[in-house]
C-alpha cells in the first residue's frame, strides 16, 4: 500500500510540469538513413516571458549548409506550425536560418505559450557538426530550436561559416526512431527499444541547448568513472591506441574544472574519438567529438584538443553564452584553460613539444598564431565577422593570450575566485560580455570597467621594453659614508624603459643586483619613454620589466630585459645551429 502511494506521488511529480524554469523541447522524429532525412515534430513549451510576445523566433541551423556547394538541397523544411493547438503555418516567415512565427494575437507577460512544429531536415553531406560523411551521421542543430532570448526579445542570428548553433538551455526530451542496424551515440539515453527492423531511442537532457546525436556503425565503447561521472569513450578499433591518452586527459580535465571552477553536475560524459570529420574537435552538450588521430601526435595538440572540448562543458555547456555573437566568451576562455591545464599536466616548459633537445610551449605557439592579427582585429567580434583563418587566430589564440593577461593581472587567488564566482553566478544562463567585464573588474587591481573592456577589445600593439641601463658611481653617497670605517661603494642606476600602448594596468620592474638581492617596483606607465633612478651598494645584474610575463599580449618579450651577468652564448648557439642547417641544405643540394 505504501509503495502504491509513493508511485502515485512519483507519477504526479513526473507529470506536474516544469519546475526548472527552462523552456521544454520535446522531439519525436524518424531517421531515414537511406534518404538522409530526419522528419517528425518538435514541441516547445515556452516559459512565460516578462514582456508581451507578438512573435516566436526559431533557428533553422541546418539551412546554413544551403549556401555550401553540393549541399543546396539540404536544410530544414517546416511543414506545419501550431501555436497552442491553432494552425499558424501561413504566418511563418522563413529567411535562411531564421524562422519567425507571428502569433495570431499578443501573448501577455507571464503567460506561457506552446508551439508544435512538423519538419523535415535533409542532412547535408558534410564532415562537420551537422552532416553525413562516410556512413556516419553527425547531428547537431538539426531541428527547429527556439532562438536565444535576450532580456526583452528574441536574438536574431545570421548563421555563417564560423558561427555555431547558439541557443538557450532547455529541458530536452527526444524520441528517435531509426534502423536497428545502426548505432546511435548520444548523451542522456534513457531507453532503447528494439523492434522488428527499427529501434526507438529515448533521450533526456535537462538542461541542454541541443540534442546531439551520432549515428554510425562499428564504434566500440570504453567506460570509466571519473569522480562521480561516467566517462564513455566511443572509438573505432583502429583508433584504440589513443584511448588511454584521451581517457586520462578527459578525466584530469573534468577533475581540474570540477575542483577549481564548478563541479560537473551531470553523471555522464561522452567522448567520440574520430567522430568529427574535420580536423579538431567539437563541443556538444555532455558530449564531444574528436577528429581522427593522425600525424603529429608527437606534439600535445591532440590532448590539448581533448582538454579544450572538455572545458567547453563549462564554458558552453553550463555557461551557455552566445557563440555566434560573442564567441570569445566560450572559445577564448576554453583555450585559456586548455593552456593552463595542459601546462599542469606536462609540468611547465615544452608543454607542447619536448623531444631531442627541442622544445616548444603552447602559450608561445598562440603568440605565433595570433601575431598576424594581434593589432588588426579584437577578440570580441561576432563569429562571422572574421575571415576563416582570422577567426581561429583572433578568438582562440589571441583570445587565450588576452585571458592570460587578464587573469595574471588579477593574481592567482583572485583569479580562482573570479572564475568560481563567474561560473556560479551564470551557471545554466547565458552570460554576456557586460556580465564578464563587470565581474572581472571587481577582481582587477584597478577597479575600472573601461580598463577591462579595453583589454578585451584591444588591437593596440602593447610592448614594454627596457631601453637602457646606465650605472655611475654615486659620489654623493660615497662621500656621505666617508666617515665610516669602510665605506660601501654606492651606485646610481638609471633605467630607461618604454611603454607602447599600455592599458592602464600596473607592471613590475625588477632590478636584480650582483649580490643576489632583488628589488621590485610597480609602475603604471603612460605611453612613452620613462626613467627610473635607483641607488644601491651593488651594480645591477639584470633589469626586467614585467619579469613574470604577465602581459601575454606583449608584442616582444625579448626586449623586456637587459642582463649584465649570467650565462652567455645565445647568439653563438643560434649561429652554430643556422650554420649547421645551411651546411645540411648545401649537402642536400651538393650531394656531399
Amino acid at each position: 500500500m505504501r509503495i502504491a502511494w509513493l508511485r502515485y506521488l512519483a507519477l504526479i511529480a513526473a507529470t506536474a510540469g516544469p519546475v526548472s524554469g527552462f523552456d521544454r523541447v520535446e522531439l519525436d522524429v524518424t531517421v531515414n538513413d537511406s534518404a538522409r532525412t530526419i522528419s517528425g515534430r518538435v514541441s516547445v513549451d515556452f516559459e512565460p516571458r516578462p514582456v508581451e510576445l507578438t512573435e516566436l523566433r526559431f533557428r533553422l541551423y541546418a539551412n546554413v549548409y544551403r549556401n555550401k556547394r553540393d549541399s543546396s538541397d539540404s536544410g530544414t523544411e517546416v511543414d506545419s506550425v501550431l501555436i497552442d493547438g491553432r494552425d499558424v503555418t501561413s504566418r511563418v516567415t522563413l529567411d535562411g536560418t531564421d524562422f519567425l512565427v507571428t502569433l495570431p494575437g499578443p501573448v501577455g507577460p507571464g503567460v506561457p505559450v506552446s508551439a508544435d512544429i512538423r519538419f523535415v531536415t535533409h542532412v547535408p553531406e558534410d564532415p562537420g557538426r551537422l552532416g553525413y560523411n562516410r556512413d556516419q551521421f553527425t547531428l547537431a542543430g538539426w531541428f527547429p530550436m527556439p532562438a536565444p532570448w535576450a532580456d526583452t526579445g528574441w536574438v536574431r542570428i545570421e548563421y555563417g561559416e564560423n558561427s555555431e548553433p547558439a541557443a538557450d538551455l532547455c529541458d530536452m526530451d527526444a524520441t528517435i526512431r531509426l534502423a536497428d542496424t545502426l548505432q546511435l551515440i548520444a548523451p542522456g539515453i534513457v531507453s532503447v527499444e528494439h523492434g522488428a527492423d527499427t529501434q526507438v531511442v529515448r533521450i533526456s537532457l535537462h538542461p541542454a541547448q541541443d540534442v546531439p546525436v551520432v549515428i554510425a556503425t562499428g564504434y566500440e565503447a570504453d567506460e570509466t568513472v571519473c569522480g562521480g561521472t561516467t566517462l564513455k569513450i566511443l572509438f573505432r578499433p583502429e583508433h584504440a591506441y589513443v584511448l588511454d591518452t584521451v581517457r586520462e586527459t578527459a578525466c584530469r580535465t573534468l577533475a581540474y574544472m570540477s575542483e577549481n571552477i564548478l563541479p560537473y553536475p551531470f553523471d555522464e560524459f561522452v567522448v567520440v574519438v574520430g567522430g568529427y570529420g574535420i580536423g579538431g574537435g567539437v563541443e556538444l552538450p555532455r558530449m564531444i567529438l574528436l577528429g581522427k588521430p593522425g600525424a603529429g601526435l608527437f606534439t600535445r595538440f591532440y590532448p590539448a584538443m581533448v582538454i579544450h572540448e572538455v572545458v567547453h562543458q563549462w564554458f558552453y555547456g553550463m555557461l551557455a553564452s552566445d557563440q555566434a555573437n560573442e564567441p570569445w566568451l566560450d572559445e577564448s576562455v576554453a583555450e585559456f584553460f586548455t593552456v593552463k591545464i595542459n601546462r599542469l599536466m606536462t609540468h611547465g616548459r615544452g608543454d607542447l613539444f619536448s623531444q631531442f633537445g627541442f622544445s616548444a610551449g603552447f602559450e608561445s605557439s598562440h603568440r605565433t598564431t595570433s601575431y598576424p592579427v594581434q593589432d588588426l582585429v579584437p577578440i570580441d567580434r561576432p563569429a562571422d565577422a572574421y575571415g576563416r583563418g582570422e577567426y581561429f587566430a583572433a578568438v582562440y589564440s589571441k583570445g587565450a593570450l588576452v585571458m592570460m593577461t587578464l587573469t595574471r593581472l588579477m593574481g592567482a587567488e583572485q583569479e580562482r575566485q573570479f572564475w568560481q564566482e563567474y561560473a556560479g553566478r551564470f551557471q545554466f544562463t547565458r552570460p554576456t560580455r557586460a556580465d564578464f567585464v563587470s565581474l572581472a573588474t571587481e577582481y582587477m587591481p584597478t577597479g575600472d570597467t573601461a580598463d577591462v573592456a579595453a583589454l578585451i577589445s584591444t588591437i593596440a600593439p602593447l610592448d614594454f621594453a627596457i631601453r637602457s641601463v646606465s650605472v655611475t658611481r654615486d659620489e654623493t653617497a660615497a662621500d656621505s659614508t666617508a666617515d665610516s670605517a669602510r665605506p660601501e661603494p654606492q651606485y646610481r642606476i638609471t633605467v630607461e624603459y618604454t611603454a607602447r600602448h599600455p592599458l592602464g594596468f600596473p607592471v613590475d620592474l625588477r632590478l636584480e643586483y650582483q649580490d643576489g638581492t632583488v628589488q621590485d617596483t610597480t609602475v603604471t606607465p603612460t605611453p612613452g619613454r620613462h626613467r627610473l633612478v635607483f641607488h644601491h651598494s651593488n651594480g645591477p645584474a639584470c633589469v626586467t620589466i614585467d619579469p613574470e610575463y604577465t602581459y601575454a599580449i606583449d608584442r616582444n618579450l625579448l626586449n623586456n630585459s637587459i642582463q649584465f651577468a649570467g650565462p652567455r652564448g645565445v647568439g653563438p648557439r643560434l649561429f652554430s645551429g643556422v650554420l649547421f642547417l645551411v651546411e645540411s641544405l648545401f649537402s642536400l643540394l651538393w650531394g656531399f
Binding site: L297, P303, G350, A360, L557, V570, L579, F586, W590
Partner: protein, 299 residues
C-alpha cells in the same frame, strides 16, 4: 665486398683533397651566409633573459619570438638563402666534372686537369641534374606509394613513439632516394669517362651498368652510409646534451665543434661512397675507361 670497400677507401685516400675541398667549400659558403645573420640578431638576444632559455634547449619559443621581433631580417635572409642556394648548386655542378673525373682516374689529377674537367663537363653535369630532378620526383612518388602499403598499427602512439615512427617512415622512403643518388653517380662517372658522346648514349650506358650492378652499387653505399648515420646521430645527440647540460659558452663551443664533425662526416660519407662506386664502375672496362681526349690525354 670487403675488397671493394678496401679499394674504395684507397681511392678516397688518393682523393682526400676532394673531401677537404667540399667540406671547407660548404663551410665557407654557409658561414658567409650565417655570420651576417648572427651579427644582426646577436644584439636582440644576447642581453635578453627570455632568450636565455635557448641555452637549455633548442627553444622554439625563443626562435619564434626572434622571428617576430626581427621579422624583416628573417624574410630577407630567407630570400637571400634561396638565391644563394642556386649559386651554390651551380658551383657544385661546375666542380662535379673535376670530382668525378678524379675519382674515376687511376691517378691523381693536378689542379689544371681538375678544373679543366670541371669546365668541360659543366653543361653535361647540369643535364644530369635536370634529369635527376625528374627521377627524384618519380622516386619520391613511388616511395610514397610504397609507404602507403606499410601497416599503420606499429606506428601508432603518442609523444616519442609518434616521433620515432615518423622517423622510421621517412627512413622507409630513404632507400628509394639512395637508389637515385647512386644512379646520379653512375651517370656522372659515365659522363666523365665519355664527355663527347651524346647524352642519350651516356644515359643508356649508365642505365645498363646500373641495372647489371644494382645490388653491388647499392650494397656498397650502405656499407658506408649506415655507420655514418649512427655516428651523426651520436654526435648530434651529444651536441645537444653537452649544451643543455652546461648551458654556457663552453657548451655552445663544443656543440659547434660536434656539429662540424657531423658536417665533415656527411661530406666524407658521400666522397667515400662515390669513390667506391667509381671502383665498381671501373670494372666495366668498356663503359667507364676514360677515352681519347679525356683525362688520360694529359699523361
Amino acid at each position: 665486398m670487403a675488397r671493394l670497400v678496401s679499394r674504395g677507401i684507397d681511392n678516397c685516400r688518393k682523393n682526400f683533397a676532394i673531401w677537404y675541398l667540399l667540406y671547407f667549400g660548404k663551410l665557407i659558403l654557409a658561414a658567409a651566409f650565417s655570420i651576417p645573420l648572427l651579427t644582426i640578431i646577436n644584439m636582440t638576444v644576447e642581453n635578453s633573459r627570455y632568450a636565455g632559455a635557448l641555452l637549455g634547449d633548442w627553444s622554439l619559443d625563443v626562435i619564434n619570438e626572434l622571428g617576430r621581433a626581427r621579422e624583416n631580417v628573417f624574410t630577407s635572409f630567407l630570400i637571400v638563402l634561396m638565391f644563394y642556394s642556386v649559386i651554390v648548386f651551380l658551383f657544385k655542378q661546375f666542380l662535379n666534372g673535376g670530382i668525378y673525373s678524379s675519382l674515376l682516374a687511376r691517378r691523381k689529377l693536378d689542379r689544371r686537369d681538375f678544373f679543366g674537367q670541371s669546365a668541360g663537363l659543366f653543361v653535361g653535369n647540369l643535364k644530369v641534374s635536370a634529369l635527376m630532378a625528374l627521377v627524384y620526383v618519380l622516386l619520391l612518388a613511388v616511395a610514397l606509394a610504397a609507404g602507403s602499403f606499410v601497416p599503420e598499427k606499429p606506428f601508432q602512439g603518442f609523444g616519442a613513439v609518434a616521433l620515432y615512427s615518423t622517423f622510421l617512415r621517412v627512413a622507409l622512403l630513404y632507400p628509394f632516394l639512395i637508389a637515385g643518388t647512386i644512379l646520379s653517380d653512375v651517370l656522372r662517372f659515365r659522363l666523365a669517362a665519355h664527355p663527347a658522346e651524346a647524352f642519350r648514349y651516356t644515359l643508356r650506358a649508365a642505365l645498363d651498368t646500373y641495372r647489371s650492378r644494382f645490388v653491388q652499387l647499392n650494397g656498397v653505399y650502405y656499407v658506408y652510409f649506415l655507420p655514418f648515420v649512427a655516428v651523426w646521430l651520436l654526435a648530434e645527440w651529444l651536441a645537444v646534451q653537452v649544451t643543455s647540460g652546461m648551458g654556457n659558452m663552453l657548451g655552445v663551443l663544443l656543440e659547434l665543434i660536434l656539429f662540424q664533425v657531423c658536417a665533415f662526416l656527411r661530406t666524407g660519407q658521400s666522397v667515400l661512397g662515390s669513390a667506391t662506386i667509381a671502383c665498381v664502375v671501373q670494372a666495366d672496362q668498356d663503359g667507364f675507361t676514360p677515352g681519347q681526349g679525356e683525362v688520360t690525354s694529359s699523361d
